[in-house]
Symmetry: C2
Subunit: 459 residues, 2 copies
């Protein structure tokens, strides 16, 4: 009888004190929330349940949850995963080929892709690219390429979040023998992957100059009907600007607006040559912009007025572009370039302060893909895309200002742990969902074969 | 009798087949020599004896030497150590303080140094900076700071090569209460360290605008008498250019030439505003130039015409500047910026090809400090400053072009092993001559104290 009483008493206490469960609690890090108030919590805690952030707060809140797993981030920075708003991940297979060659796209890259890109290249190239992104703290990537259904499959295998666009272009493509064959592929791809928790399938019309108006209008219509994003290179090329001025007396952005493509579905990559009127249109139509600083200056094209856009409320995120253009795929490698180039071209070292650049990389990227409601900052209710930085690296000591440390000192290799959709994808630099050594071995073997067959790089 | 015969026979064979000894043989790497012909040896060998390179060649030559130690660099890149031609290593202590502040030097940095820099700060700050440089593949650093004898002592403790200049300036300094007190300190420092195998002591007059003509002339005379280098900030500041134009109707470089300072002793840092006439003078007088791209654009000052200088035969190397200016201290972090910014400002993606940028970082740096006879390339007879790169990192795969891989893909963290003057300083990322954890612990403690006392960063 007494035993029964004690049992009931203990059971009652247990019920009263029951802690809500958590899948993962991250403790003791400096939590950089990137919320509206830019709260930074020393010795902070991040609580994850299922795919979502449940709570963010001071050390004491950890005791409120019964955690299945705890990660001690002591001495580290805990922050939202970074969003790579423009890339062609599979092009890792061509990295370090023809970097310093003039006028590459039509003379070198298109023929290279026609000769070598197939489903297997996309499979391994994308895995390799995602490996680099996850190792560098990218949790969402926006990809435009061919065989995009294969990209989606390997992204799900990796556990990585993607906005993935099947390319539509006015010439034969690696996955479509006929010009514009990608349009049908894109529609099927979007049908197949709609509603996936990790994948947002999209249309990727290559550029305003590489599709005819009828196809661009058709894509605008379909994207509206399907509520699907449209990923596109926009105002990247000097001859693109000249042609639209000559043929239509418009900027490409004005043209896109005139045919219904400049809207909340669009993620416009580059916008190097956007003028003030273009910027006002981008803002008015609520389009997103992917700012690819490293790739843009490597190609000697120019510095996009992306800081001005950002300051005027345009949805601006950061992108790496493909690894033949920008070579590396982690967003951290962009941060220093973004800060310094905007200072340089505006002759003012106070511009592009580090906090603003980190904003572009996180919540800015979420805005660019119209996902700021559930991505881009550490706030309860958002999806659990979180990274943990090591700050024991020599280059990150001292750390008087966490944003300056990230922008001016950090490398992608300082990321220790990457969590996507609540799942730990990399822990203490060990990949948990894929065999990194196997991916690298396949890439080396494929690159060896391509290297032997590629022929001379044009002068 | 038969035993004696056998013994003599074996001894003879042993004598005939005796291999010359080697302290260290590095095998199986891709050897990037940076010699005049830019030879790259697949599966190459580098042989080191005492402080020098004895032989560089194909795999077969390894068998010619009796090696005390062998490092298998299979799959890696073996190349000359990089030369950081301009820094203030001790300023690591202030890293991430006031990065985005306008007009910092006089408003913020000089007062900060006056308040906090002492021998202990220089001791630990320099150790920390060298730690980062060795981890990032820098084998020689050119330093201008205060308490430079302390810098020399810790460089010898680390085993790092340095061209070290004691600062002379027209105001009280952390190590000299009276203006120009550094001049006497510099002479004593040079006397104390002349002939050291690792340390080349030097004068470091701060800038043309921060010393009077009499002191600059005196330094010119002493540097000639002592055959000592002169390290100086030159044509870095817009108001420096304006003042010399107004007061003397000269550029600062013309002024230095007129007072005998523009010569083979000088390493001129920055030269952002050098005009064609300045470039011709730098070339004619055989002066060295330290090109600090990252720091120069972060401060929004401009892009030095260093590529033009390099192409015209001026002695141009790369530098990081101090870590309040450029934040990181490894030269690899400069390579991508150097390539891309020269492309950008010249509107030509074929400029600054990757091989040329690697040249600036190695043999170019050696030329800038007038040490190309014994540093900067892997050639028999030169000093053994060698680094080994890992190419298993995700960002370095594929590797179709080793120079492109280094310039556009690599990070300082991809260096595995650093050898200076024939001595292995870091092996497989473990520091062998200093206690890295102890250095970091001291830096954190000092930074914590400074952070509590520093007061507000100016707006």
């Amino acid at each position: 009888m007494r035993r029964l009483f004690v049992f009931i008493l203990l059971a009652s206490i247990s019920t009263i004190r029951a802690q809500p469960p958590a899948d993962l609690v991250i403790t003791h890090g400096t939590v950089v929330t990137m919320n509206d108030k830019k709260d930074v919590i020393d010795d902070g805690v991040v609580v994850i349940r299922d795919a979502k952030l449940v709570a963010i707060g001071p050390a004491a809140i950890a005791a409120n949850y019964a955690a299945k797993k705890t990660i001690d981030a002591r001495g580290g920075i805990v922050m939202p995963g970074m969003i790579n708003t423009h890339t062609h991940a599979a092009m890792t297979i061509f990295r370090s080929l023809g970097d310093d060659v003039a006028d590459r796209l039509k003379r070198f890259m298109f023929p290279l892709e026609a000769k070598f890109v197939d489903r297997e290249v996309v499979h391994w190239g994308t895995l390799h690219g995602m490996l680099e992104m996850v190792e560098g703290g990218v949790t969402t990537f926006v990809d435009m390429y061919y065989f995009e259904d294969e990209v989606a499959r390997v992204a799900k295998q990796m556990g990585m979040r993607g906005v993935l666009g099947e390319t539509v272009i006015n010439q034969p493509a690696p996955d479509a023998k006929e010009p514009y064959g990608g349009f049908e592929l894109a529609k099927k791809f979007i049908a197949d992957f709609r509603g996936d928790p990790l994948i947002t399938p999209a249309f990727a019309p290559h550029a305003p100059y590489s599709l005819d108006e009828a196809h661009l209008r058709a894509i605008a219509k379909e994207s509206e009907a399907l509520d699907a994003p449209v990923l596109m290179h926009v105002e990247e090329m000097p001859d693109e600007m000249a042609t639209f001025r000559k043929d239509r007396n418009q900027t490409p952005i004005e043209f896109l607006d005139s045919i219904g493509l400049l809207n909340r579905h669009l993620v416009a990559a580059h916008c190097i040559f956007a003028n003030d009127s273009d910027i006002a249109l981008l803002k008015a139509r609520d389009a997103g912009v992917a700012h690819n600083m490293v790739a843009n200056i490597k190609s000697a094209k120019g510095v996009s007025p992306a800081l001005k856009m950002f300051d005027q409320g345009v949805r601006v995120g950061l992108g790496t572009d493909g690894p033949m253009s920008g070579n590396t795929l982690d967003i951290i490698g962009q941060l220093g370039y973004v800060a310094k180039l905007h200072k340089l071209v505006n002759h003012d070292r106070t511009l592009a302060p580090s906090v603003k650049v980190v904003e572009m990389a996180t919540i800015g990227g979420a805005r660019a893909i119209h996902r700021e409601a559930d991505l881009g900052s550490l706030e309860a209710g958002k999806l659990a895309d979180v990274i943990i930085f090591d700050v024991d690296a020599t280059n990150l000591i001292p750390n008087y200002d966490v944003y300056a440390t990230l922008v001016y000192g950090a490398s992608g290799k300082d990321v220790r742990t990457t969590i996507i959709n609540g799942r730990v994808i990399m822990e203490d630099r060990k990949l948990l969902t894929v065999d990194a050594a196997d991916i690298k071995a396949h890439m080396r073997a494929m690159a060896k074969s391509i290297g032997e067959r590629v022929g001379p790089v044009p002068k």
